[in-house]
């Protein structure tokens, strides 16, 4: 199916999210939409999928102009969407999920599960998906769940498939498999729109690349273009993709974690006997697929987990059993993995957010009163220092872009006297320009002799920042390896396998 978008414009209030975007996707091609977070890719796809109504422009499928009033229309017209967050019901089987919303019924409304099962088997065999229709979705690995989403779209005879940031939740191996699937679908004559901001993936599978910036198409790029070329198109200026850092000046052991165990409410050990050390002046990166205990590890350090055993000492001070406030006061800086949830108060101004973990004592507090003057001065200074792009310090955090929100969090944490920095997914959902800035700040923190723990699911980031890499799998350490470990090895370790010839770096 041939998709033509012509002059799509979508405004939110006075902000133009899509500014007359035109795009053609041919059958049998993988068309990459490349752009930073907030460039307008998702808005465009939501217009295509009937979730938003475009203010101007038209959508044309195989020469016919479409007027979608909702996703149902788009699906009926042959558009399938594989969302970043899966729209699956965990306690249903694969077949039940696939038929959901499109149920064929037999006598007296009984569900015809057999038909759905056959359909799943058929599609699965055709593309080599290896999906059993009777497995419960919750028992499937993430990569396979994604295939269920794809099957779901294909079962409705989708001719155009939209993949919205599909690799965010996948291991490197699963990503490779997904790429293979996309190629197969292409061979089968499907048109594919692949939305991403990861340059490596784009260059691997794309037939054509359209770069979007600030709601406008800034141009088409060739899949043979270099990373630097693509990045500068995305950002609109040359970008430093490599983090420059000197050899670490390593000091004494600072953070010592021994036999740490974190149990969740259901009684499952999410962190299971973890031991490691971070020394002053080094960055230890925690690599691993999301959900392998990273969140629980950082929260345990911060005193945000309830059921923690083992020991975490920072410069000799035991942190387990302390309140979050005590941990923060001990000099732990915390960049939480989800700034919208744990990092910021969206309804507060930038200035108010900058004192969020300092509401108990000076410099912003005096005898139970806020020292608004001191706070304003501080905020003004940090706004400049950390290059937060906002109208002024009274802008609400909710109105900032992801990158600027994260800069506010980073500014708040780094402007305290730190003895340890814990940065979880410090650049998730952050534009390339801000990533560059935040990485520099992390390295500067390390160079000032502060131990840094970085948790990231992006291998690029791990490799760029780490002095040592600790790979986690199901709450256990697979290995602690040097920063120059090959990606393939790291990818393998992320699946829980430990290469036989692997040597841990102890020192």
């Amino acid at each position: 199916m041939r998709l033509v978008l012509r002059g799509i414009t979508k405004r939110f209030g006075s902000v133009v999210a899509n500014d007359s975007i035109s795009l053609t996707v041919e059958p049998g091609e993988i068309h990459c939409l490349l752009g930073e977070n907030g460039a307008g890719k998702s808005t465009l796809m939501n217009v295509l999928y009937g979730l938003y109504k475009a203010d101007e422009g038209e959508i044309e499928l195989d020469g016919e102009v479409q007027h979608f009033t909702g996703p149902g229309d788009a699906m009926a017209a042959g558009i399938g969407m594989v969302h970043q967050h899966f729209m699956l019901i965990p306690v249903f089987t694969v077949a039940e999920n696939v038929m959901l919303g499109n149920e064929s019924t037999g006598f007296a409304g009984t569900l015809d599960v057999d038909a759905a099962r056959e359909r799943v088997t058929e599609i699965s065999e055709r593309f080599g998906f290896h999906v059993n229709p009777d497995t419960l979705v919750e028992d499937l690995p993430v990569g396979v769940q994604q295939r269920v989403e794809i099957i779901k779209a294909l079962s409705r005879d989708a001719e155009l498939l939209v993949f919205d940031e599909p690799t965010a939740v996948l291991t490197p191996q699963e990503t490779d498999e997904l790429m293979e699937i996309m190629r197969q679908l292409k061979e089968a004559g499907k048109a594919i729109v692949f939305i991403t901001h990861k340059l490596r993936e784009v260059r691997e599978v794309a037939d054509r690349i359209t770069v979007i910036r600030l709601g406008k198409v800034v141009g088409e790029a060739d899949p043979t273009a270099s990373n630097a070329e693509l990045a500068s198109m995305m950002v609109g200026r040359p970008v430093e993709l490599v983090v420059h850092k000197d050899a670490p000046k390593i000091g004494a052991d600072a953070l010592v974690v021994k036999d740490l165990r974190v149990t969740d409410l259901a009684g499952h050990a999410q962190v299971d006997g973890l031991s490691f050390t971070i020394r002053a002046g080094e960055v230890l990166c925690v690599a691993g697929v999301q959900g392998n205990g990273q969140t629980e590890l950082t929260e345990a350090i911060l005193g945000l987990q309830d059921d923690v055993s083992g020991s975490i000492t920072l410069d000799g001070l035991e942190l387990v059993g302390r309140t979050t406030r005590q941990v923060l006061d001990a000099g732990v800086g915390f960049i939480p993995e989800d700034r919208q949830v744990d990092g910021l108060v969206p309804g507060f101004t930038i200035a108010e957010n900058l004192m969020l973990n300092r509401s108990f004592k000076s410099p912003f507090v005096k005898n139970g009163n806020l020292r608004l003057g001191a706070l304003r001065e501080f905020a003004q200074q940090k706004l400049k220092e950390y290059d937060v792009r906002a109208r002024d310090i009274d802008s609400l955090a909710a109105n900032l872009s992801g990158g600027n929100q994260q800069k506010v969090v980073v500014a708040r944490e780094l402007s305290r006297d730190l003895r340890l920095l814990v940065a979880a997914q410090p650049t998730r959902g952050v534009d390339v320009g801000s990533i560059e800035f935040i990485h520099k700040q992390v390295v500067a923190t390390r160079d000032s002799g502060i131990p840094v723990l970085v948790v990231s699911t992006e291998l690029d980031e791990v490799v760029a920042l780490a002095d040592r890499i600790m790979v986690l799998y199901r709450g256990r350490v697979v290995g602690i390896v040097p920063a120059d470990t090959p990606r393939e090895t790291l990818g393998l370790m992320m699946t829980g396998e430990r290469p036989k010839d692997l040597k841990d770096v102890v020192a």
Binding site: V341, F348, L356, S359
Partner: protein, 422 residues
């Protein structure tokens, strides 16, 4: 960034628009356009602003109230019978009914122009202030809890318990005025704080929902007061069968502000002080900062070392003490003739409306409390002079809440620009 592309909140893409756009789009915008855009966005800000929404809700409610006044008026119904023959009769009847009702309300709430003596003319205003006092106090109690995103429906229980406690001190204890009154007030506030604090503590410790707990505590408070009114060592009047306590000692009664000819007592002054304190608390104190942080995003507050549970408990204690003060205001000020089971006079629930209309801001609550006080004072005059049931005031109050709760409806009626999708 420029004014022209100021992002609206809560919008998926636009909020994350990188700000480099400013430099790029700026040259394309001609200055005249920019000004127009700015004034439009200003209008949008006012339109989506709290004060206007509240005012429009009040306006709409009064309008609907007018329709009802006209509909139940006998003159209007009679003239409607020959509407086509002599429409002017009908319209003048409608006018008479509505203007009669609202001018009666005005006479009852602010200024009675039918009287000649200035003191008597202004007497209605003092009545309005008298009624407004506990509404403001209660509104502050509910509004403060709202700011921590807690819904305190326990105003009634908190008032009853506080009123009972203050009343007990008011007639059982014998002390000079200078000690007696402050002691009674403080004991009342402490009882209210206890009653609110229970709900806060249960929420903090067990996660019990404050709505359910406070509703249940209303019953507990009611029957506790009921029990107290049957025991002479507590509140029972010896030798009486009525569930009513003896009158307060003179040394425990809130003095009148403008002399004995007016009912306005110092409860209203306490309410004004409470508005100031609440304003300071929310906007200038660290405790208020933490309360707002917990209310806006408890996760971030927790990750920043703020003890969310303790904040809930403290907020509910303060809220309870404010509603307690409203109860004290009734027992020691408005009705010092003795504690009874209806001492709350439904203020505990009206306070929710006041807090909503005041958008949980102390000054907004002050304004809303004064308005509702005027409704209360004026409602009685409307009933006596125009024979319109005082319940109409309740209907208007309810409609205000309805319109406040449905901003899109109000927007649609006044054709205001729609707020962006949430």
């Amino acid at each position: 960034m420029s004014d022209t592309d100021k992002p609206q909140p809560e919008k998926p893409e636009a909020g994350t628009q990188p700000q480099e756009s400013a430099a790029e789009t700026q040259p394309e915008v001609d200055p005249h356009d920019a000004r127009g855009e700015r004034s439009r966005s200003l209008l949008r800000e006012i339109a989506s602003g709290d004060a206007l929404a509240g005012a429009l809700a009040v306006f709409l409610a009064i309008f609907v109230g007018s329709v009802m006044i006209a509909a139940i008026d006998e003159g209007v119904r009679d003239t409607a019978g020959y509407l086509t023959a002599r429409p002017s009769d009908f319209f003048s009847a409608v006018w008479e009914a509505i203007s009669g009702a609202y001018s009666a309300m005005f006479r009852g709430a602010i200024f009675n122009y039918n009287l000649t003596e200035p003191a008597q003319q202004w007497r209605p205003l003092t009545e309005t202030l008298k009624f407004a006092g506990p509404l403001i106090l209660g509104g502050l109690g509910v509004g403060l809890a709202f700011r921590a995103s807690l819904f305190n429906i326990g105003g009634r229980g908190q008032m009853l318990v506080a009123g009972g406690a203050a009343g007990w001190v008011g007639f059982q204890v014998d002390l000079p005025f200078i000690v007696h009154l402050p002691l009674a007030i403080l004991v009342g506030m402490a009882a209210g704080a206890l009653w609110g604090g229970i709900a806060g503590l249960l929420k903090a410790r067990t996660g019990a929902h404050e709505v359910i707990v406070t509703i249940m505590l209303n019953y507990v408070g009611y029957y506790l007061l009921f029990y107290a009114l049957t025991k002479e060592w507590l509140l029972k009047t010896p030798g009486s069968v009525n569930p009513k306590s003896p009158p307060m000692d003179d040394s425990a009664v809130l003095p009148k502000v403008l002399g004995d000819q007016f009912n306005l007592h110092f409860g209203f002054v306490l309410a004004l002080v409470a508005v100031g304190v609440a304003w300071w608390l929310l906007n200038r104190s660290t405790l208020g900062y933490r309360i707002r942080a917990v209310g806006e995003n408890p996760h971030a507050a927790r990750a920043s070392g703020i003890n969310v549970g303790r904040t809930y408990t403290v907020v509910m204690m303060i809220a309870g003490s404010l509603l307690g003060l409203a109860g004290v205001n009734q027992v020691l000020g408005t009705v010092p003739s003795g504690v009874s089971l209806d001492l709350d006079a439904s203020i505990g629930f009206d306070a929710i409306t006041v807090a909503l209309l005041g958008r949980s801001r102390p000054l907004g609550i002050l304004a809303a409390g004064l308005l509702f006080g005027a409704f209360k004072a004026g409602g009685f005059t409307m009933q006596t002079s125009e024979n319109i049931s005082v319940d109409l005031v309740l209907v208007v109050q309810s409609l205000i809440v309805l319109f406040l709760a449905a901003p899109p409806l109000v927007r649609a009626i006044f054709r205001l620009p729609a707020q962006e999708a949430k």
